[in-house]
Symmetry: C2
Subunit: 330 residues, 2 copies
């Protein structure tokens, strides 16, 4: 089949509500710093009532990756469930406006579109509080076979194991992708998410359902329940064809059966908000990979895209990453 | 009566939808650059369909001023009309979260909460496209007499002459304020707004309905239909007790019957988005004035607050202006 998209991205479609907060606020409100905390309606109302002035921007891990790929000039598609409400309109607008193909059927009624209240502390770290809303309705019926079959890579987030039926959607997508000679990729998403679904994630890798894994070092060591990064790298080498591991200011490491490639972090002026860092790294990497670049170049492009997004508030690029790529000579 | 608030702010309650755009986009879409363009539902839908990925933040000229005063540590109240919808909830949240007293009754149904699509060009200039929505319903019944009587200054935006009944609300507020020995202040808002209501604005000044006027140089020369700034200053000296005129990188000029005080612009690193510059200047100035500072100091504090807001996307302070004031020794 003709390749229509470089990367199809599947994830929880979430609008971010972003505010600054001090560390003692996180402690007082029992928010796990740096993590994605799942919340219900009642807690969402409480947290909003104590939250400072905020800005709203479309987010969602794989949604940010899709936006990043489009900003780099890649062909991106997205599957994710919003509701037919204000935030759903905003989410759809932002996706299409950056050039992502996004046609997942909107939920006609309740629950409302998902939102994540993100508190950014003075050190630039983000702590997320996610109300999944309409994302719980994503299922196999939302998998458009033609799009999966015509995408070089289908990429999804580990967070999709939280809603009840999204994993069925992913298994369906994986079957279609592999039947068409395409590749599957995932991100481990979050150390606590890894803790919730460790065995299932390992099975996805060991069964070959997933060919390329993204993780940060915390997620990787959580996956193998070890405190040693080197041990985790040794283990993942056996379990997955290609693994790209981000290590914040230490750059990233690409692990294959044969070798380990280390790439320095892209220099930044000031860390403002880490939201979207991993998502944009994946965007750059996947853009590189689907454009025939070496794994080392993929990691470099990923580092560049991540560097852009952590220097401003919000999870998606605010400049053309395609222009940035040209300027950097990458 | 005891003073409960330093400044009561009255204005069009608007959520800003902010995106980057190139100059040729403004030309193609017939948007007057640097101005506030009023739009109807149909045009709002069209512009949103061609707008890039956006972020949403509470705005509205006098609303931004209220937020600025609260951020400086001043006691601020606000009157403005939102609807009982998602954006109305967001607007109310952001106002209260920064510490502004805001209790204006929400419109129970249509029209929806106002929004302004703001395009920020690479030079940092903002061009606004405002759908007034529920703001058209603001009227004298929204003027809480006790709050007007207990506020040192009541400040409002010239933009309030656009909706049909807000001017009646302002006249009512002015009567209450002056009967209680309080002062009235306004901003001329926008050169085209001045053009629409020139005679009425001059009458507000000459009749003593307004004691303190804020304007930028374009609005001031528009008011007197002259191309000479010096001529406009000479004219306004006769018409108003105190006028504070902002001149972008040239700083600001405070004009009274007796003298003219010129204050340099506050230094900045990089101009990102001018949205809110005038509103935050007014916030700093009014905070100074209601705290017994000299007119020169008022202009300096205004310049500082404006400098903060133009160095990031969005119309309201992203740091505590109170802390900034202390750091600057102002």
């Amino acid at each position: 089949m003709t390749t229509r998209f470089d990367v199809l991205n599947i994830g929880n479609a979430i609008v971010d509500i972003i505010a600054h907060a001090e560390d003692d606020f996180l402690v007082r409100e029992n928010i796990i710093k740096g993590a994605m905390n799942l919340i219900d309606t009642e807690r969402a109302e409480h947290l909003y009532s104590v939250m400072g002035p905020a800005s709203e921007q479309s987010g969602g891990s794989a949604g940010n990756t899709a936006a990043g790929i489009a900003s780099l000039g890649g062909r991106a598609a997205y599957f994710g469930k919003v509701s037919d409400d204000h935030l759903g309109t905003v989410y759809t607008h932002d996706m299409r406006a950056i050039g992502v193909h996004y046609e997942t059927a909107k939920l006609p009624g309740e629950p409302p579109t998902a939102r994540s209240m993100i508190f950014v502390t003075p050190d630039g770290e983000r702590s997320m509080n996610t109300y999944l809303g309409s994302c719980v309705e994503l299922g196999p019926e939302d998998i458009d076979e033609e799009i999966v079959a015509s995408s070089q890579i289908t990429y999804f987030e580990g967070y999709l194991w939280d809603p009840p039926r999204a994993k069925e959607a992913i298994r369906k997508a994986a079957d279609i992708a592999h039947a068409n000679g395409r590749r599957m990729s995932m991100t481990l998403s979050d150390p606590f998410c890894v803790d919730r679904y460790r065995d299932e994630f390992l099975d996805l890798m060991r069964s070959g359902t997933v060919d390329l894994v993204f993780a940060n070092e915390h997620e990787l060591v959580s996956l193998y329940q070890t405190s040693s990064f080197d041990e985790a790298v040794k283990a993942v080498r056996e379990d997955c064809e290609v693994t790209a591991v981000t290590r914040s200011e230490k750059g990233s490491v690409v692990v294959t059966r044969e070798r380990t490639e280390t790439v320095h972090a892209h220099p930044i002026e000031k860390l403002v908000d880490t939201t979207g860092a991993g998502d944009l790294y994946a965007a750059g990497f996947l853009f590189g990979l689907t454009n025939g670049r070496s794994l080392e170049d993929c990691a470099r492009i990923g580092g560049m895209a991540a560097a852009e997004v952590i220097q401003h508030i919000g999870p998606r690029p605010q400049v053309s990453l395609k222009d940035m790529l040209a300027q950097e000579g990458l």
